[in-house]
């Protein structure tokens, strides 16, 4: 008899019961799920055996332990069975064939968790802060009235809302508008004011040039975009390993800040660099100026200086759904990486006549048969149907983001970064319909959406995690945290994830007729 008693029932989760009436055929152990591990109840014994085996190997070969820690790349620790297996195969241990006789005496109370606990739109974490005791009371009152004002907007009581806005502007004078609660509240009061008094001009969308400038300063002032870029580049580099013709399709080129690092990494890769094609999508430039081409030329210069064969193509489109696959001119021999940094959420608005552009766009992406699709999105629930829910969530989200910005010492960058964020806030708060493009959705929703569109998850591993953590330590203030979330990486401030990076690949078209593997169900 082993150290564990297989006849003792594993106990069931004391959590809320699943709302669906049909129990999944192969439930996961509820208690381990509460600890963050997904192990099928029917596999418990097997997993235990593998752990025993792993232990034996580790005891017998202590030097191997350091190899596991330092060199091996770990993926998705929540899937305990495959994590243990990956360690065993790192140590060249063959898998144990499952012993059928051991399953019969197990007597688990089959009670599956309904799935991961939904990240509440109102994750309670707030960074609004004020300086002195006197300010504290004004700060409290400010938030209270702000919420009441949002509520009246939600109910359509616009004249009531207008009077609250007046009151709020008065309250703002008694708090420090430069930092903490004063600053964030200021932006939200401004947004509400625009919505109430000037809804037609509410959107703060500026010219493409202005947007690019603000974007650049947001990039410099805080690590969110840098994290997106280096996490994406790491995954793309790995996907391109062993291939000689590669093609990156960037859904939002901007100044091409992401690409020098990838070009340099490709230049240095063992075996030499591939032929790299980059297709950059961006808005059309006004008055004959071709900014896409200029960026392309600069990147070509860099590529030439490090001996990477490089070709650039710019695709001007004001919206992603205006892009047609033929514009990308993909070559059947090349390996494709699609790079989408905070672009997909803009496709979630729906037009009564055409439906939501996200579906056709995901379909043509899939039809490109990309080796990897990098998706980075804001980790927030700003696309809820009810205004008040969106407002509340946005208040929390952007407060946290502003708080993280406080650490930035470069004043100009910080101010322009704030303007960048302000535009997002205005869009979330003031706009409706197709004008509201900042329709951020959390990671779990993107998992469902991408899974349903025929993509499978490519896990980001401990090497990407470590690189991200190290770069953060080097370049940013303390308080940022990288977390692993079932194969994806998030970057957050003070334990609140703010941005999530995930990697995907298209499932081979051949598999289409079979039931799709869903992230939350078991493989059929």
């Amino acid at each position: 008899m082993g150290p564990y008693d297989s006849s003792v029932s594993a106990g069931s989760s004391s959590g809320s019961s699943s709302s669906c009436s049909v129990k999944p055929a192969d439930p996961i152990d509820g208690l381990l799920a509460g600890a963050g591990y997904r192990v099928r109840s029917s596999e418990l014994r097997q997993v235990a055996q593998r752990l025993e085996r792993l232990e034996t190997v580790m005891i017998n070969a202590p030097t191997e332990v350091s190899h596991l820690a330092n060199d091996a790349v770990h993926y998705n620790p929540s899937d305990l069975a495959s994590w243990v297996d990956s360690l065993l195969s790192e140590l060249h241990q063959p898998e144990i064939a499952p012993d059928p006789s051991t399953f019969s005496d197990l007597n688990y109370i089959a009670h599956a968790q309904g799935g991961p606990v939904l990240v509440n739109p109102m994750v309670g974490h707030c960074e609004l802060s004020s300086g002195t005791e006197i300010e504290e009371d004004s700060g409290i009152r400010l938030v209270h009235v702000l919420m009441t004002c949002a509520e009246s907007v939600h109910r359509g009581e616009l004249s009531l809302a207008a009077s609250f806005i007046e009151e709020l502007q008065g309250l703002l004078t008694s708090v420090d508008g430069e930092r903490g609660i004063g600053k964030v509240a200021g932006y939200f009061i401004d947004a509400l004011s625009r919505r109430v008094f000037a809804p037609q001009e509410a959107s703060l969308a500026g010219s493409a040039f202005e947007n690019a400038v603000l974007y650049h300063h947001f990039y410099e002032a805080c690590p969110y975009l840098k994290f997106a870029h280096f996490t994406a580049n790491q995954a793309i580099l790995e996907a391109f390993d062993g291939h000689d013709c590669v093609h990156v399709i960037d859904f939002n080129l901007m100044h091409g800040l992401q690409w020098p690092a990838l070009i340099q990494a490709l230049a240095l890769r063992p075996g030499g660099p591939p032929l790299l094609r980059l297709t950059g999508i961006g808005p059309p430039s006004p008055d004959g100026h071709d900014s896409l081409r200029e960026i392309g030329l600069r990147l070509a210069e860099l590529a030439r200086s490090v001996n990477v064969r490089f070709a650039f193509r710019g695709v001007a489109a004001s919206r992603l759904d205006d892009v047609k696959p033929w514009m990308l001119q993909v070559n059947p021999k090349e390996v494709i990486a699609v790079n989408s940094i905070m672009q997909l959420h803009k496709l979630l608005g729906s037009d009564p006549s055409r439906g939501s552009p996200i579906d056709p766009v995901l379909e043509w992406i899939r039809n490109l048969n990309p080796k990897i699709v990098m998706v980075v999105e804001q980790e927030a629930n700003h696309n809820q149907p009810e205004f008040l829910d969106r407002f509340t969530e946005a208040l929390h989200y952007y407060s946290t983001m502003f708080d993280s910005l406080e650490a930035c010492s470069a004043q100009l960058e910080k101010s322009l970064a704030e303007m960048y964020i302000q535009r997002e806030i205005c869009n979330v708060v003031c706009c409706e319909g197709l004008a509201r493009v900042e329709r951020h959705e959390p990671l779990d929703k993107w998992r469902d959406r991408l899974g349903g569109a025929g993509f499978t998850s490519l896990h980001l591993g401990s090497n990407a995690f470590k690189q991200a953590s190290m770069l953060l330590t080097l370049f940013s203030a303390e308080g940022y945290c990288v977390e692993e979330n079932e194969g994806c990486l998030t970057l957050g401030w003070h334990s609140r994830p703010l941005i999530a990076a995930s990697a995907w690949q298209a499932m081979p078209v051949l598999q289409h007729p079979l039931p799709l593997i869903n992230h939350h169900q078991n493989v059929i």
């Binding site: 235990a48 005791e133 334990s495």
Partner: protein, 390 residues
């Protein structure tokens, strides 16, 4: 002497992962540790009657804590204003919890500890404040104790945590493994400070010493834990050059102090019969008794480390019941006292509720606004003086 299968898997998984993280030279693979640790976000949406949110207690050290509260009776989602709403019932215990991990592992947002704290809320009808203290080896003694002390001061100064009965915060310190050790040391610090700690709850607290005890020799390597790893963690936590008789490790040892005459809180100490450091834990309980302090010792013969993490064994329920009684027994005595005092107060009570406010509705409004406090406001006040805002 068996544990349920899923418990075995959980603890073995930790054991093997942790083996990879401890390096022979005393350094720690923090990146891999953070990658492997299963974390959960705070959730203001009540789940099983409990919601949670994170607060910044000290900006300078990025000291965070996660607060867990019982949801309101209607189970509705609390608004921003409700997160720091004053506690409702007459007496609400506030349990400051220090997670385990031998001073090096885990965080307040680790899934296992998030789950445990939620259970404590439901079980004890308490507010739980789980402290994300700094860990070894990057931050050795006394950093974890400093963070614990900061959290205690913070909790004690929250108006919304005061029990309406006596306008005081009813504080208990609790922790498992290294967290139990931290609870003891924070309670020690609190003595003479004027902050009253009503009780300590120590689950498998982490103590040790230079000599090898009988239980250490007998159980070395038998139930998930080895002497070698215990030694590693002490070397990682204690100041360099110090041995395990340092009072942080061995509070009643040769370098320890007697607590005789010291106004130290009453303690509930749970010891697992299959934990190799039980002799040190029992010696700790003895040390408290010798000083004339009240100790409730729970010896759970067949329990291993981590038995309280999953509700699939008798020991779990025994301990949860004991903790519940422990934090409410003060309640009983206060209620009794209140019962006697009540007639004297009732005459004055009619005026108390209005206090300095002009109208009853102003009072209600201010209560609601006070409820809508962003705790960071308070944090900022305590840090502001001399704090470097980066």
């Amino acid at each position: 002497m068996v544990v349920p299968l899923n418990t075995w898997i959980l603890i073995s998984n930790f054991k093997l992962a942790y083996n990879m993280l401890r390096r022979p030279d005393g350094t720690f693979n923090r990146h891999l540790a953070e990658f492997l640790d299963r974390k959960v976000p705070a959730n203001a949406n009540p789940v099983d009657g409990v919601f949670s949110f994170d607060v910044v207690i000290d900006r300078g050290t990025s000291l965070l804590s996660r607060i867990y509260r019982p949801a309101s009776a209607d189970g509705g989602v609390p608004s921003i204003a409700d997160l720091e709403k004053p506690v409702g019932s007459d007496i609400v215990p506030v349990i400051i919890f220090f997670h385990g991990g031998s001073f090096a592992h885990s965080s307040a947002n680790s899934a296992i500890y998030d789950t445990l704290c939620r259970r404590l809320v439901g079980n004890c009808n308490a507010v739980v404040v789980s402290v994300n203290y700094r860990r070894a080896p990057e931050d050795r003694y006394p950093c974890a104790y400093i963070d614990g002390w900061a959290a205690l001061k913070w909790v004690n100064s929250r108006p919304w945590l005061q029990s309406p009965k006596d306008s005081k915060v009813h504080i208990y310190l609790a922790g498992d493994s290294s967290g139990g050790n931290i609870a003891h040391n924070v309670a020690l610090r609190a003595v003479e400070s004027g902050i009253e700690v009503l009780g300590n709850v120590l689950l498998n607290p982490m103590f040790g010493g230079e000599t090898r005890t009988e239980s250490e020799k007998r159980l070395d390597g038998k139930y998930f834990v080895t002497l070698q790893d215990r030694d590693w963690y002490w070397r990682a936590f204690l100041p360099e050059g110090e041995d395990r008789d340092h009072p942080a490790c061995n509070p009643f040892g040769p370098k320890g102090i007697s607590l005789e005459g010291v106004k130290f809180p009453r303690s509930l100490v749970a010891v697992a019969g299959l934990d190799l450091v039980q002799d040190w834990q029992l010696a700790y309980a003895e040390g408290l008794k010798r000083a004339g302090l009240e100790v409730n010792l729970l010896y759970l013969e067949k329990a291993t480390i981590g038995f309280y993490l999953l509700p699939n064994n008798d020991h779990f329920y025994t301990v949860m019941d004991e903790i519940s009684n422990f934090v409410s027994s003060n309640l009983c005595s206060v209620l009794l006292l209140g019962f006697l005092v009540l007639p004297f107060l009732s005459a004055a009570s009619g005026n108390l509720s209005k206090g300095a406010f002009e109208t009853a509705s102003d009072w209600e409004m201010c209560e609601m606004i006070a409820a809508g406090v962003f705790y960071a406001l308070h944090c900022q006040i305590s840090v502001k003086g001399g704090a470097i805002l980066r």
